[in-house]
Symmetry: C2
Subunit: 129 residues, 2 copies
DNA sequence: GATAACGTTTACGTTAACGTCAACATCCGG
DNA sequence: CCGGATGTTGACGTTAACGTAAACGTTATC
């Protein structure tokens, strides 16, 4: 069951970013694909990391924050202290995300109002140019 | 019923930003407080605009996008063409917001898993330093 | 009337997240 | 063997969103 692999333009195409973006993430230490000669070869895990990074970016997280969140998913510790600190960071991140959800819902409510008013105007007294 | 007013440091304090940030928003044309001499005097409407800008920023919108959204709330047109274009922009913005909500929910689900695992580790086989 | 406390303008500095370009390597079909 | 297509490594450029600092005005207060 040899893992499927990807080259850089394949992933760039899939995610709608440039190859420069993917190389930049590597430059910043967010991913570390293996090499075949000089060429970068991405495994499924690399691909997932990129996906997670881009998800973070879509909600306005910095690359640094993206790493922090991804690192949460990858505990690799059994130490009591570290588990507690992990739980703390999970809670911090969660409260930020919940605030963002509230912001989004408020904004959606505003849009709904705008839509209602605009449709009413169209149905009622709107005039042509 | 004379409107309440605010000075710059008052608003900066309330919103947890610097006065520089507020002046910067003005520089970019996002707000336009009236003056009393050289001093900036903010009315409730100005305050609301700042609040909306900061809400946009929290979910990763650029200042430009913030203006676009705020402008949606302020139609001031009865032209059919423009009303249709308004509705289009509302829909575009909504779909971005919904994508963001999905991203946030996915991330929250991930955090919940991490939390469950960490708590299990603490309850079960975690060891002290 | 000196000195804080707050505000103003002007201007240069900074950081993040890439874009852009040059110069070169590799590979592949004709 | 050669010309694209694709990849690589520098290296410098760019934009957004402020930070920071200097130099000055206004007001309050001791």
């Amino acid at each position: 069951m040899s893992q499927r692999t990807y080259n850089i333009s394949e992933l760039a195409g899939e995610f709608g970013v440039t190859t420069r973006t993917i190389r930049f993430y590597e430059e910043k230490g967010l991913i570390a694909p293996r090499r075949e000669g000089r060429r970068r070869i991405y495994c499924p895990a690399d691909r997932v990391r990129i996906k997670l990074i881009l998800r973070g970016r879509r909600i306005g997280m910095t690359l640094q924050e993206c790493v922090e969140v991804i690192d949460l998913y990858d505990p690799s510790t059994n130490n009591v202290q570290q588990l507690h600190s992990l739980l703390d960071r999970v809670n911090e991140r969660r409260s930020k995300l919940l605030q963002q959800k509230t912001d989004i819902d408020d904004m959606l409510a505003g849009l709904a109002e705008v839509e209602t008013l605009a449709k009413a105007a169209l149905a009622g007294g709107a005039h042509r140019q």
